[in-house]
Symmetry: C2
Subunit: 193 residues, 2 copies
């Protein structure tokens, strides 16, 4: 296989990229932006080498423990559980939350073979049982899978004697948190149940 | 900047990839397919290192001169001018053409600052004047820019005493050759004017 064909094939491994767009990408880089190609290659290798999961909250970080978890200003009595780092960023942008986080890096999805282990459920239960956490705010998405995940989380956390709340229904049902406007998220935080 | 942010930024250099999809790509690779990330990085570096332009037809190749140009079975009296390697592949798939090619690697586009030099017009004129070429078939796309390019090509080639034909109008106006069905292209080849 030629290096060109190999590149087209490799680019198809990117999510959302089919044969037409991978060909267009390879063509564009070779013809117009070889510098960008090297930058992307380096960024890929660097990220795969440097980025790991925070030992406390499971988000992506380059340290053992991420900056948020290490921040003494945060309220260690509150733990907000989100599906992804992008969801965490969305909550952060509201400026309405001072507690800590746990990032599932996914959601329960039996059809896709994603079970409790894949979203680090045991690690979350262990994290929430550190003696400091008083309330776990479940902020998984209001999709079918996010709701199912929230249900499983709530059961497990309540059985461990923890107070469990859920973002209020201000967040439109069926939507992904990442794409919701700040005001709605802020309001839902205040109205959590 | 973190390696994660650097990766998101680098992936945005891919055509058609905005901030949301680059974040999704970085997340997917880190979380689910680190092996793919390394494969893409290697494929990018290999392609940028290996792939150059054929000295005769200007298409992408890893040799000095590409396989098509070296093929003694091809009819050296015919030269088909296309915009991209994908367009060349579309013509090849028809099985209706036995001549050689010249690949412009673009089209004239004054608004985007793409002039005669960027599409190797001088090299094409030189190539077409090798004494063997009898007919130049202009197969640029039937878009406004493709037509304008065809016009400039035809003027230059005719002034050098070459016979210039254009694919027949069987190809739907406004469409990109790459996406046209084989039968239409084959018919347009026969009916070239
Ligand atoms: Zn952390
Ligand atoms: Zn060639």
């Amino acid at each position: 296989m030629s290096s060109f064909d190999a590149l087209v094939l490799a680019l198809r491994k990117l999510p959302g990229v089919g044969p037409k767009s991978s060909t267009r990408m390879a063509f564009h880089l070779l013809q117009h932006d070889r510098e960008a190609a090297h930058q992307i290659a380096q960024a890929l290798d660097a990220a795969m080498r440097d980025v790991r999961h925070c030992q406390r909250c499971n988000t992506f970080t380059e340290a053992e423990v991420c900056d948020t978890c290490l921040d003494p200003q945060r309220n260690a009595a509150q733990l907000c559980v989100v599906e992804t780092p992008a969801d965490q960023a969305a909550v952060e942008r509201t400026g309405s939350y001072q507690g800590l986080y746990f990032v599932l890096m996914g959601r329960l999805s039996p059809l896709d073979g994603i079970g409790p282990r894949d979203i680090g459920l045991d690690r979350l239960f262990e994290r929430a049982a550190d003696g400091e956490v008083r309330e776990v705010i479940v902020a998984t998405n209001f999709t079918a899978e996010g709701e199912a995940t929230a249900h499983v989380l709530a059961e497990g956390l309540k059985s461990r004697g923890l107070k469990v709340t859920r973002l209020a229904r201000g967040v439109p049902v069926g939507s992904e948190l990442e794409y919701v406007d700040l005001g709605t998220i802020a309001h839902a935080l205040v109205d959590r149940r």
